[in-house]
Structures are given as C-alpha cells and as structure tokens.
Symmetry: C4
Subunit: 276 residues, 4 copies
C-alpha cells in the first residue's frame, strides 16, 4: 500500500508535524488550546444559528464568523496534509475525514445556495465537535475512565441486550393491558418505548397508564428498574477497583528469575523460590 511509504519532511515540516500531531511540547499544547477554543466557538455559532430569533438578528455576523472559521480550519487541514509523513494515511483516517467534513459544508452551501438539503449540510458543520475528542487523550483522567469503560464494555453490552429483550416483554404485556382503554398505547413499539422510559426511571409522562392493572404493573416495573440500575454500577465499580488495585499493587521483583509483580509480603519468589 502507498500508505506505508513514509515521506521525507523538511525540518520546517518536521517542526510543524510535532506541533500539529503530538501536542506534548509547549508549542503543541498552546496550539491545542487555541484549536479547542476555535472548535468550541464555531460549534457555539452553529448552535446559535439554529435559534430563529438569533438567526434573524445576527445573520451577517454568523455568516462572517462561519467563513472565518472555515478558512482557518481549511488552512489547518492543508497544513496537516503537508506536514504529515504519510499524507494518504492521515486523509483516510477517522480524524482526517472528520477534519474534511468540518469544512466542506460551507463550500457546498456557497456553491449550491439554498438547496433542499441545506439544514442537513449546515448541521454537518457540528461534526467539528468530534475534533474535540481528538484532544481528550492528553488528559490523564480520561485514560482511567476509558480503561474502566473498555473493560466493562462486554458485560455492559450483554446487560443492555438483556434489558432490551426485557423491555420488549414488559411493553407487550402493557400493550395487552392498556390498549383499547388508553389512547396512548397505540402499538407494541410505542409500549416498548414506554417500558424503556419507565424502567430507566426517565418518566416523561407523555405516555402514562390509566387502568388500575396498568398502574400496578408499571409500579412493579419501576421497582424493578430501581434494583436493575445497580447492575451496570456494580460492573463499573468492580472494574475501577481492579484498575486501582493494579496501580497500587506492590511490585517486588525477583533477582533470580526477573519476575515482577510479586506480593509485598513475599519472602521467596513464588516462581523460582529465590529468597528475596
């Protein structure tokens, strides 16, 4: 693959590569903070543009700001390609595509004007928010959280699968109980939606049972939801505890067999029997 070929960069390009892609130097950190502020401001502008009264009043200001950000992000995008050791790899990476999709909508809008897909195109500019996630790995705390979530991932997915099947059963029972008497429970999917709203303790109240049996049954669901919420919490807590214990684990090491991670109260290496 051409992606594997590593380009030769000039020292100027190498310096910028360091700033743009690594971010653990002082200059890199300053660039990241400026970028973060630019992203958040541009996201705020797109959001405010969707508010009709604000849009009417500040239309020209929003338009101007939008173009300033588009041009800035375009320059940054071109710079990133130019400074990359493997430009193709960057362009087709997840963040490379996000970077491109963040600047395209403005150009498309400028070219085709008031098209039918205008709203969707405008909203695409909000993909800029994904660029913030790129900066998150530099936070130490996020590593801890990401590790805990990653390790709990499979258990939580199985749990959520259980919950989905469970809410289908609950929704169907509720449909049989309420349909005919209550105009809210019009179909099974709506009843399943209601069961999810209730079991997760969200409780909008847009759909609510009115028959005594339905109310008794939904009281049962709520009480179950109150107990079930304990399961993901338990999973994550245990995983976090594991990580914490692994971090504080006493790591006596053996001179005989170079084993590491031995218990703090070991007197002999448990692998080769050497006295520590």
């Amino acid at each position: 693959m051409a992606n594997k070929e590593t380009r030769q960069l000039s020292s100027f390009q190498r310096k910028w590569h360091h700033i743009l892609f690594e971010g653990n130097s002082t200059q890199g950190r300053i660039f990241d903070i400026i970028l973060l502020l630019a992203i958040l401001t541009s996201v705020a502008v797109v959001m405010m543009e969707s508010v009709v009264p604000l849009q009417r009043r500040y239309e020209h200001l929003f338009h101007l700001l939008e173009w300033i950000f588009t041009i800035l992000f375009t320059i940054e995008y071109i710079f990133r390609i130019w400074c990359s050791y493997q430009p193709k790899k960057y362009i087709f990476s997840f963040y490379g595509l996000v970077d491109l999709l963040c600047i395209l909508p403005s150009y498309v809008e400028a070219m085709y004007g008031n098209t039918h897909f205008l709203l969707t195109i405008r909203v695409l500019r909000l993909m800029r928010i994904f660029r913030v996630f790129k900066l998150i790995p530099f936070l130490d705390e996020s590593k801890y959280l990401v590790t805990a979530i990653q390790r709990s991932r499979r258990k939580i997915f199985v749990f959520l699968f259980f919950i989905l099947l469970f809410t289908m059963v609950l929704g169907t029972i509720m449909y049989v109980i309420e349909s005919g008497k209550n105009s809210d429970f019009t179909s099974i999917p709506i009843s399943v939606y209601w069961a999810i709203v209730t079991l997760t303790t969200v409780g909008y109240g847009d759909i609510a049972p009115i028959t005594p049996l339905g109310q008794a049954f939904s009281a049962l669901i709520m009480i179950m939801g109150y107990a079930i919420i304990a399961v993901p919490t338990g999973i994550v807590t245990v995983e976090m505890n594991k990580i914490h214990r692994a971090e504080t684990a006493t790591s006596k090491s053996c001179l005989g067999c170079s084993a590491t991670g031995l218990d703090a109260d070991s007197q002999y290496c448990k692998f080769c029997g050497t006295k520590l």
Copy 2:
C-alpha cells in the same frame, strides 16, 4: 416416569441433536445465529403488525412473513422432538412449551378467523422472544451477571419488600394531605402508585402534589429516594466484588510451613520457599 427413558438415536439424529441442543460446535453456533436472526425478525414483524398505518399498508407482506416463520419454527419444533433422547421431557420442559406456544397462535388464527381473542392470540406470538433467552447462556458475560444477581436475590427481595411497605405508608400520608384539595389523589392505591413513581425517581408528572404541605412532603420522599437507591447498588457491587475476588482467589497451600492462601500461580511457598 417415562421421561427417564432414554431413546436410541441414529447417527443422523445424534448429529442434529448436537447442532440443535448443544450449540458449542461450529455448526451448532451457525444454527444458533440463524435462529437468533429468525426469532428477532419474526418478533419485529409481530411488533410492526400492531402499528395501524403499517398494518394497513403491508398487510399481505406481514401475513406472508408470518406464515414463513410459522412453518420454519414448526419444522424446527418437529425436528427437536425427533432428535431428542427424551422427547417427552423436551415437550414438557419450559422451552419446549415456549417453542409450541410460538407456533400455535398462527394455526389457531387460521382455523377460527377473526375471533374475539384475536389480539391476545396474536400477542402470544411474541413469546418467541423468550426463545432468545435460551441462547444467552452461551455468552460468558451473562454467567457473571446471572451469578451476581442470583447471590444478591434474597437481599434485594427483602429490600424491595421494605420499599413496598414504605411506599404504602408514604402513599397513605400523602392521601391524607392532598385528598379533597387535589383531584389527582382519588384513593389510597393511587397515592401509593404516586409514591412509587416518586421514590424510584421516575416522576411521570401525571399525578403531582399541589398543596404546599404535599410538595414539602414529596420533596422529602425524593431526597429519601435519592439515598435509598444506594442500597441495591451496594448489594450488587459487593456481590460482584466477591465473585471477582473468588476468581482471583489464592487456593494453594504449603506442605512445608502449612501456609494457606497462596496465589494460584505460585510454584514455591512465598513464606518458606518450599516447592509446592
């Protein structure tokens, strides 16, 4: 009991028994995945049939799909009986009855047409969802969750019993406070339903206090609910921690110094250096 008699099966039957009932071979896993997809699709069809606009538009398609699934599941059901070592045991087992109830409704509907019980009969087809639970034990994660829940079961039941009694007391007090001034609190059972909705933090808002005293009292209930939710979470977390510790538990003991509780991967006693 006749159930105890074990039939002799031909090698062809034995092979299918393996695929249908055990599912840890490659063929068994493929069959399970196909079955899972068929079950989920048939469940989706039954759900969509309950949505009036979709039902009107795709009536014939739904009818066709329903018969395809019914015939497929009937073939599977007959096959399961034919391949079973103890057919009677299978037929009268929980999953055997579920398998039968999943195909019966379509035949009943075909025979009796538009009867009064049509809705209930149709909904019975959704029992197919229980067939998915049969496939769950093959997931490793589910064992962990099921063990944690089983061990917490008694404590959580006692806790929920407490909560039920507690909500009865709260509901009654609220009935005395609000009835007469608020048309929502018509009876004690309704007030208990409201107390459950509030304590579990669901909060539909279909019934809400309007008197100052009632609002103060419900604020108190909410704050208590906020603290009480900690109890099932604590129970489940402790149980999961126990399981985790048991998994990593040290189960070797030393013959030299009688030390117990050595790590499972120890080759030498960490206290006296004796080879285990």
Copy 3:
C-alpha cells in the same frame, strides 16, 4: 418503676408468650405467617375502601371484613397483655401502642358515626402496616441491610443536609432567573421544590423552565445531580464491603494469649509472639 416487676406466668401463659413474642419456634413461625397474612389482607381492605367505585359496590363486604379483623386483632391484643411478663412495658412500648391504634379506629367510628374526622380515623387503621415491620427482624437479610444503613446513617444525614442547603441556593438562583417570565416559579419555596425535583432526577414536569438561561441553568443542575447521586451509593457500598470483609475475616486464634481475629497468613501471634 412498676415496669421492672416481672409477673409470674402459668405454663399456659408461658407457652403463648413463646408463640406471640419470640417466633423462633415452629408454632411461633406459623402464628407469625398467619398474622402477616391477616395484616396484609386488612391493609388491602382499608386501601380498597378508599376507591370510590369499589366502596359503593362492596360497602357491606368491607364493613364485615373490617369488623372481623378488628375483633381478631382485639383478641390478639388482649392475649398479648395477658401473656406478657411485664404488661405495662408492652402496653407503652412502640409496638404496643401501634397494636392499640390499629383496633381503636373501628370502635371510635362505631361510637361516633359519621364525624368530621372520619377520614383521618379510617386512615389510622393503616397503621397496621407498621405491625409488619415487627416481623422483619426474623429475616436474616434484613439484619445485613439494617446494619449497613445504620452505619451509613450519620454520613447520609450530613450528605442530605448539604443537599438541602444546596437546593435552597439553586432554587433561589432559579427564582431570580425565571420569576416574572414563567408563571410556574411563583415563590422561592416553589423554586426550591423544583430544584429538589430536578436534582434528584425525578423530573415531574409540572414546573419547567422556559427562559433559555433557566434551561441552561437547569441542565447544569441535572448534570450535577447525575454526579451527586454517586455519593450516597459510595457510602453504602463501602459500609457493606466492610461488613462483608468482617464476616469473611479469617479468624486464626492464639493458644498463648487467646487473641482472636488474627490474619490468615500469620505465623506468629501478633500480640504475644507465640508461634501458631
């Protein structure tokens, strides 16, 4: 005090004392189960009596059942006094007063008929539910829960006191933001009630912010509530963990100084130095 005097009971009274007050014999357990069913049925009757349509239809049945329960509980009450070693102590104990208050309302109603306080008097019969709590200590699981809650009690009270002060601050800020523009936020107490409803994630929706600033501020409260709910859960989990660890603690004991509760991996008593 006269309460300290212990009566001499006949062997018949002693036998009944055993059944009525101790409940760890077979007869005592049977009596407790019958009593539990009687209490729950009588509570269900009082609850259903408050539902207007049921009350109209089954008035005579409810009246009859009420008198049967009243007479049964009266006999039980007299029996308890008669079998008690210290009758006065029982009469003025919490459960003695509850037992009395459970039977009084029916007699008061019979004597004074349709008085103004009828509703309150009738509702007092629901105090029977407190009698169920008397039976709970016989459940092993409840001990565990009660211990965990008792030990967390002080921490949770301090936490709830914090939360109350915090919701007062939040409610006041919201009152300044929304009052004048939103007819829901009529006063500071109502705003504090709203802050509690929001922070505890109940969210009735009877009072909801409508100004953009108010919505932004309430979004902030919700996110804080999402994080704050972790605190009581953490408290209870840690306490339950402590209890669990204390239960499974390895209790090697020393022959030299009779010390107990030594670590499982101890080779010498940590108090007197005797080799174990």
Copy 4:
C-alpha cells in the same frame, strides 16, 4: 501586606475570638448552634416573604423579623472585626464578604425604597445560607465526604465534560430527526437541553419526541444514560474505599525480617515473631 500584621487583643477580645472563630469550646459550640438557628430562621423568613399570599398577610411581621435579624447579624459582624487578630484579612475573606452581603440588602432597601432592583437585593439576603457552610467543617462526617469528593473531582470533571460533548452530539442528531415534524425541537440548544434531560433520567416531559425514529433514538439515549450513570458512582465508591483502606491501613514494619504492611495493632511480627 498590612494583612500580615497581627493585632494585640485584650483578654476580653481573645475570649470572644475563641467563641466566634474557633467553636471547639463549649461556649463556642453554644454560640454556633444559636447562630445556626438564627440563620435558618432568617432564611425561612426571606423564603416565605416571596410567597405572595403570606407576604400580604404577614407583611409587618416579616418586616419586623427582618430588622431584628439584620441588627443581630450587624452586631455579630462588628464584633467579629473587633475580635479579629487581622481585621482586614477577615473583612476581605470569603466568609467576611458573605457576612457583609447578608446585612447590606436591608440597609440598601431602607435607603432607596422601592427600586427596580428590589427583588435582586432582597434575594441577596438569602446569601445567609452560605454562612451555614462555615459551620459544616465541625462535623466529622463532612470531612470524609469532602475528601472523597475532592479526590474524585478531576475525574468527575473530565467525565462531565465528556457528557456535555456527548449530549451536544445527541441533541444535534435529534434536532435533525425531529425538527419540522415536532414543534418542541425548535433549535439545536433546545435539543441539547432535551438530551441532557433525557440522559440524566430527569425526564420532565415538556419536550418529548413524537416521530417513531425520534422515539427509537431517545430510547437508545435512555438506555445509555442508564449505563453511564454507573461511571461517577464507580469513581466515588473507589475513592471512598481508598480513604477507608488508608484509615485502617497497616503501617508497621519488622526490623527482624524486613516485612512491611503489618497491622497497626501488631506487637510482634506475624512472619518471624520479632517484637516490634
């Protein structure tokens, strides 16, 4: 700085300094309890004054009470300055400013009468509630809670930052799905507000999805919210566990065999029997 200069106080001033600022003597505790009651009563008065019917009825009583509290707190404020070793330091400290702001509104109101900012000025009197926080450090339990929260602080902030970005993404997707069909989702900020209400399981119901796709998507958000709530709980529980373990931590080590991590109450090394 002038703040560093420590004044000479008379023995009378020193005695009052002890009572006002330290609060661990009997007199100090009595003063704190009286002050706490005065603060809570004055807060209750300000709150009740905002309720229109109460305000009309008890206007004169509220006015009188307000002046009594203002004069009392003014005397206390002057006393605190007079008894302080470094008056300037106290005046410009956080609690010094709070103490001043608690008494100023009444004087401002008296001078300028019914001004436009009357409401805001009156509400400022509720800052008195912050004075209660000053008394909290004297509770042992609060130290434990404050430590646990402080240690979890950074992790929880990173988590809440994730959640905010996440709800922006969810709100934007929902805006694309529902806008045009649902009059509730008028702009992206409103949709983000809805996403926060849903993810945190508050669920007011003032804004609710009506399209099938929107309902399916919000069901997904709810189920995610159900799992995500586990993260802050896990963080706090692990931190509390750490504190608990540190409190009971073993801090003795043996000179004979260099064993570390022995129980704090050990008198002899449990591994080699050496007297510690």
